[in-house]
Symmetry: C2
């Protein structure tokens, strides 16, 4: 159901629509880190995160009449924006259910991409019930944020690019650290890199929200105790998915965990040495590469998103590199 | 002495050493600007500015024995870093004369790239005399910041990439706005784009330091009244060069002028919509594209550098998009 063939088919559909993002590095970053670090800058992807890939992949895989009725997504922000722009560029309606406490910039941008945004209260309202009613009433197709083979395939195109760019950079062996929420990006990259046989894939998560690390350690899906409480809003999913976890369990690990302060410091390092803007959840992989010890000489990190409020970015600049 | 052949030869020498930077765009940037804007993100170049291209081009063009004795540069920062890293990667010494009031991050980075940095006081010391003594004593070759055919050729490789990337993006006609100091980047890009016949090249400068705009308007080299007094430190050169000006005069104009506040706002726009870090001098072209009116539907801007202190970046975030 998932695999390299699906990822390659997604890559063909994304060609000319998604951006091939650069694999960045910097001598001064390597000096700070004490190892070679390469950063797959998905913050430079359309809509500012890798989520455009999965959104485009899922929408472009629908049959014409289903697609024409439109799509729906649940998202705190990056998946929302990715699906919204992919829908607009397919000329179809998108309805996005967003928690009312999602970052302001993500809500505003999702609307600016032309989606109908419906806000709900995480504490008192049932997102799934609202979503089910809307999909039924309007004939919308739900584009899940990660537990969908075509979404995983879309995110996996990031991995195809990493393989090709690593080869061009002369990298023969590396650990690839991913920013991991529900595991769509991580599973897709792991599947895409599997044939090369020279990459270990390790998910990074915020402390307190290390469901994937604990799931990998126990071999069983574990859940987070809380749904909020980290700056890394983009990757605070409750648990790995029924489709993503078996892939992660077969191909990835062990998980890496970083604090919010380390994520902020990684944002400051990316500002100073790579001149890219990262959001906290998009900086956890770089934070792990900078601040965890059990890593090899060459590390490739996903910088998975850069949709961040100025206030949070000021916190990162204050945290210093 | 300068021309397309020299630029193509420089491109061959830079291949595999400099980065091919992406040509970025964003639907929400276009919505804010009211026109299509593409940004050539040279802030993502090695050392954080296009200056690495010219440094590499000049050093790689020297004969072996001259090169082995080392190079010297005068620079407030970006040329310093470009020459420093290009020298280190050629395995040769670099001495960089920097004004003591240059941005701290640029001085620190130039040292971190392995150069010997000598600071001088702009007000009381004679940079040229210090430089002449050192080049003579040590047999160093001076790499000028812009008025050198091989430096112009190196910067011109940016233009070759713009031509190719514009073609891929389906752009058939555009105004290319450059961040312009002494005119090395602008002259190089104009020469590289001349054969295509579908690009106008217009230099952008900070208000009060519009020597190039006035020189183009009068057909004679004009000088700035002051040497400091703008946030755009990277492009505060006294006048266009003896080699660059005839090229600019033949191929470019009219010049565009933006305020420091507009440059800060452009940095905030680039932060929000492109997720790249720009310094004020690297944002003047985008500022012109955002805030000047006499421009066509499609504009390509150089984002020429991203070496900025956190304090200045905080000012940009506060200035708002």
């Amino acid at each position: 159901m998932t695999g390299l063939a699906l990822i390659e088919a997604a890559a063909a559909r994304l060609d000319g629509h998604a951006r091939v993002t650069p694999l960045l590095n910097a001598p001064l970053l390597d000096a700070v880190a004490g190892r070679r670090i390469f950063v797959k800058a998905e913050c430079l992807q359309l809509t500012g995160s890798f989520k455009f890939r999965g959104g485009w992949s899922a929408i472009s895989a629908l049959d014409d009449s289903t697609r024409a009725r439109g799509v729906m997504a649940f998202s705190s922000g990056n998946h929302a924006q990715g699906v919204a722009l992919a829908a607009r560029r397919h000329g179809i309606p998108a309805v996005i259910l967003m928690p009312s406490d999602a970052p302001k910039v993500k809500i505003a941008n999702t609307r600016a991409y032309g989606a109908e945004v419906i806000l709900y209260d995480r504490a008192t309202e049932d997102r799934d019930a609202i979503g089910a009613r809307l999909t039924q009433q309007r004939g919308l197709t739900l584009v899940k944020p990660y537990d969908d083979p075509q979404v995983i395939a879309g995110q996996g195109t990031t991995g195809l690019e990493i393989a090709s760019q690593a080869r061009e950079a002369g990298i023969t062996r590396a650990t690839v650290i991913t920013c991991c929420g529900g595991g769509g990006l991580t599973a897709g990259i792991a599947l895409a890199l599997e044939p090369a046989g020279c990459f270990d894939v390790r998910p990074a998560e915020p402390a307190g929200f290390d469901d994937v690390a604990r799931s990998l350690a126990t071999g069983q899906i574990q859940r987070n105790a809380a749904a909020t409480g980290s700056l890394c809003d983009a990757i605070l999913t409750p648990s790995p998915g029924a489709i993503t976890f078996p892939i992660l369990n077969r191909l990835c690990g062990p998980g890496l965990v970083v604090t919010d302060d380390e994520a902020l410091k990684a944002m400051a390092v990316a500002f100073a040495h790579l001149r890219i803007v990262l959001e906290p959840g998009g900086a956890v992989a770089l934070a792990a590469a900078l601040f965890r010890d059990d890593l090899p000489d060459t590390v490739i990190c996903t910088a998975s998103g850069g949709n961040v409020d100025p206030e949070t970015f000021r916190m990162a600049l204050a945290a210093g590199p």
